[in-house]
């Protein structure tokens, strides 16, 4: 982490994203923000409130409800030297932009043999647990992590949020920046002042331990750390790794931890089948088979088409801290 300042400010994730975007707009005239309701409304979570007044409608662009155009135009801007930060209002709405992200942005460098790059950031709030039901709860990372040429980050601590968003803005290639909306105001933490970056592709150990490795990201990292603290009080030492970056994935940190603990639990909100956990599991079995002392377990969202609105349905979908603690106990006892 390249720190510009040792002074910090306590802020939540909304403030962390807002501060980072503001500083980026201030620092580089090529930077601009475009998306639905990012201007006059100041973003539905008020992340860009006041930006249009300060930076003007040429740099804070309110777009129509047309995600393919938002990303498509941003791809062109990025290829021609601007630094667009496109926003998809909710990750649930990203599907029309799939072709622009996967077919265009991710392939620009390869297709042009390096003549063009696509320094584009696509920010989008994702995840459930906020009574958002079908259109405001989805996790999309597994749909995109199959795609070479695309970086995906999903930080959930304010300091990580700022460092990785700065890294994403600085990155010469497209980055899908996922913000778990439930953590927006739920999570607070100290954030270093000034510009700094956290390398994309580097995981972070949020709770150290040696009996069991838990890999997670997003909202669930916070719950997993909470569960790990409970287990610590019971005498079971759990290591919680916050992936932070989904692709590229920090294999080194995961493998070092699994080789130490010999047990791996992967927790994510996205559904299990073909999810991020499947890739981690396959990678660990390929690389560390003879270090495993227990089957790799995955605690994930159910294979249902969407998160229900009804409280019991949402609660069943979202994994409680109790369930995480139970799964940790169970695997530790194996």
């Amino acid at each position: 982490m390249a720190l510009a300042s040792t002074e910090t400010t306590v802020m939540n994730n909304v403030e962390a994203v807002r501060t980072t975007l503001y500083e980026a707009l201030k620092a580089d005239e090529r930077t601009l923000i475009m998306g639905e309701d990012v201007g006059a409304r100041g973003n539905v979570f008020l992340i860009t409130k006041g930006f249009i007044e300060e930076f003007g409608p040429e740099r804070i662009i309110d777009t129509p409800l047309a995600e393919a155009s938002i990303v498509g135009i941003a791809v062109g801007m990025a290829m021609e030297g601007l630094r667009p930060i496109a926003e998809i209002q909710f990750a649930d709405f990203i599907y029309p932009a799939f072709n622009q992200i996967v077919g265009e942005a991710a392939k620009t460098r390869y297709r042009s043999n390096g003549d063009y790059t696509c320094p584009l950031v696509i920010r989008t709030p994702y995840g459930g647990g906020v009574r958002g039901a079908l259109s405001h709860s989805v996790s999309i990372e597994a749909l995109f992590y199959h795609v070479p040429g695309l970086k995906i980050v999903a930080p959930s601590y304010p300091a990580d949020m700022k460092g990785l968003l700065n890294a994403a803005i600085d990155d010469p290639d497209p980055v899908l920046f996922l913000e778990h909306k439930k953590t927006y105001r739920l999570v607070k933490g100290e954030v270093p002042n000034g510009h700094y970056t956290i390398p994309i592709g580097k995981a972070d150990i949020k709770h150290a331990g040696d009996k069991l490795t838990v890999v997670s990201y997003g909202l669930y990292v916070h719950q997993a750390v909470e569960a790990a603290k409970r287990l610590a009080s019971e005498g079971t030492s759990v290591e919680v790794i916050d992936l932070r970056s989904i692709r590229p994935m920090d294999r080194t940190t995961i493998l070092a931890s699994v080789r130490k603990t010999r047990r791996l639990l992967i927790i994510h909100e996205d559904n299990k089948f073909g999810g991020i956990g499947a890739e981690i599991s396959a990678m660990v079995v390929e690389e560390a088979f003879f270090d495993l002392d227990a089957p790799i377990r995955r605690l994930c969202g159910p294979d249902v088409p969407a998160m229900g609105y009804a409280a019991p349905l949402e609660e069943e979908f979202m994994i409680s801290t109790d369930r995480m603690a139970d799964a940790m106990r169970d695997l530790a006892a194996f």
């Binding site: 040696d210 003879f290 006892a333």
Partner: protein, 455 residues
Amino acid sequence: MATTITMPQLGETVTEGTVAQWLKKPGDSIEKYESFVEVSTDKVNAEVPSPVSGILREIICKEGETVATGAPIAIIDEVGAATPPPEPVAPSSYGAPGTSVAHAEPARRNGSAASPVPNGKSLNSSETLRRVSPAVRRLAREHDIDISAVDGTGQNGRVTANDVLAAVSAGSSAATAATIVHGPVTTTSVTTTPATAGTAGTAAKPAAAGAISADAPRSTYAAPLPGTLVPLSPARKIIAQRMVESLATAPHAWTMVEVDVTNLWAWRAKAKDRFAQDKGYALTLLPFFIHAVVAALKKQPLLNSRYTPEGIFVEKNYNIGIAIGMESNLVVPVIRDADSLSISGIAVAAGKLIEKARTGKLGADDLGGGTFTVNNTGANGSVLSKPIINGGQAAIVTMEAVVKRAVVLNDAIAIRSMMNVCLSLDHRVIDGTASNAFLGDLKKRLEAMGPSGEL
């Protein structure tokens, strides 16, 4: 099929429950999902639905009794006993709390005194031993630990990696008498210094603690020697597998004859230029040899057969495989129905196959269905070889290099062009009589070939 009903966990922090009231008595029939017992905890009172349909056979836990969650409280005989036993309940750790079900053999549930398999050590030990994790297997091998002698602390008494390391520390292994010191472990965990012999993982100092004598003499050459690992190509893997299979299943016997090919050699020398001009393929010794082999096989059909558990299958066709070695590969394309071909026909067929092999154009049709194999080992100068039978055949014959040697001919020493012919045979199929008859016949035919013959 008896289903043991256990005390459900009525809440995520609840560890025990009290049977408040039985809603059914032994002998009553119960529908699936029908409430049959009322359970109370310090948090809730709840009626518990039955997970199965059946007859309540036995009440294990009486009203007012408090037992731990997971302890058996009743046995229900499932209806339709003729139906196959249900699938074992998947050990999902993630399900919502609810009624837990454990299936067990009726015999083990005799009376309320019978307790279920506790979390303890009573799982069938052979089962436990078979279910050894990769880490345990590796650690046990590295530390020379007899896993069956280790106390397991995992689920159902499973031996965990830490149990093995504990055994190493305690020096309690039953199999350490030999004090075998292994070389440095190259797969050692990244958290360990890979220098200590026999240690691995994160255990603090297992080697010093006794199971393996730390001061036992060690070879100066214990360190891995430098070298290059050539990855196995798919072809190499298949070759390796087939060679091992053949040698492991067919008892190989070996025999050899010397053949005087002076006249044959002269014939070939005389005909080869013309042949190459006419047909476009080189005339080597191979087609002459194959032609003679096929004729000899017809006299000894057992050589053209294969062993099956039902009997020796004598082939009707004479499909002769020719082993062609390439830089890192070996292929055996087949000349089909070689008995229908003249020497010249065989030469052309072989020439085509060799060309295809060299250009990597052999198809499945070129490679399958061989009944006997000829290996031209002499092409590379070998004078003696012991070939491995091509799997699914009874024998393989080689033609070694033709060398001029001083031999006794009509009680005089003469310089003759000599060739050794070696035969490996599946001794399950063929004995010395047949193989010697075959080789003798082949020798006679080759020696009879000369410049007056017809291609």
